[in-house]
């Protein structure tokens, strides 16, 4: 099986995630879609690391995960704040540059 299939799969997932980001209104779901995209990226990284036969790709993926974790922490915090201020988690409700 050609290694490219993994990349194709990743691309597919990435696109789906992207579409989700654009379509969904619930901030948390949007966030999940972003995670999905990140994971897709990770998949490519790992696939490439196997293709090239060194671990740099995996290390990158590792960093991506960490960053994603950090991002999730902050992002969710923001969502919570947002929810507190306007009792909704819809990104469309946050259309003003003020609380």
């Amino acid at each position: 099986m050609s290694p490219v299939n993994y990349v194709y799969l990743a691309a597919l997932l990435f696109t789906i995630g992207a579409a989700g980001v654009l379509i969904r209104r619930n901030a948390i779901v949007v966030f999940m879609c972003i995670e999905l995209m990140l994971n897709a990226a990770n998949l490519t990284l790992i696939a490439f690391s196997r293709i090239h036969g060194n671990l740099d790709g995996q290390i990158m993926a590792f960093f991506v995960m960490v960053v994603a974790a950090a991002e999730v922490v902050v992002g969710l915090a923001i969502i919570v704040m947002m929810y507190r201020s306007r009792h909704s988690a819809s990104v469309d409700d946050a259309s003003l540059m003020k609380l």
Partner: protein
Amino acid sequence: MLSSASTAYAAHIDGAALAATSSGTSAGEAAAFWVLGTIAVIGALGTVLLRKAVHSALCLAGTMVLLALFYLANGAYFLGIVQIVVYTGAVMMLFLFVLMLVGVSTADSLKETLKGQRWLAVACGLGLGLLLISGIGQASVVSFSGLEAANSGGNVQALASQLFTKYVVAFEVVGALLTVAAVGATLLTHRERIEKSKSQREQAEERVRKGTQLPPLPAPGVYARHNAVDRPGLLPDGTPSDMTVSATLRDRGQMREVGPEALHRVAALEQRTADQHGQADHGRMYGEPHDPDRDTDDADDAGQGREARQARDEAREEEAAK
């Protein structure tokens, strides 16, 4: 579905691991790829399309698990585990937690509020996907040049040695990033207290000023015949008080009321005790006439609901009419 998938793959995993070590790819891996890949895509679609956030979260978790399996299949054992433990275990649970916090029942309405947003989104998605795929199509990658060399000393060790030598700076920076993120999160979620907290005294005074229910609420219907939580308790003078029933039951209208018979029975009971103690005439409570035959059949209507009693009363009234 997820669980089934994972179990089905469980047998395969070491084979995949073997495969990963060899530069080629086994037919098993191919099969696994197609099956699990399909499921992963379905999961992703579910994430995007399901209305309830919880469902999408679960789908995402599934997809992640499957991805973790792919990692494993690609010889990234450490990352595979991390993916399952950290991502699916911690992060997704964090997501769910926040979801609960924010409110489970919030489901997106399918109506798109932004004009043309949906079509633009789909267009962008498809366009991007097509472009990516066409881009990848140009890539000339024939085969894996396996990882056995890199993983010879064990995947984790290899990663560690790279992390702490080659990527140590990045590692430290990322660590700092995490710390900052944690601090930032606490900072964000920290709610500034606007007014000073009330002392107990102040709370008491406030209550007095409001003038509503100064003493604590009475206990549930312990004086009632059947001491059930949905029956109002009687106050010392024998009148039932709704306040003894929990607010929830009251609001749901599941409170059972204490009928006159019950009161009567109580009165009769006391009468009998009074008789046994040989008291001449225990002044009847509630102006009830002493009616022995009714006292007798008190026993059998224990636990009947309001409805039954009402039905019987009506029957009695009809008899009275005849």
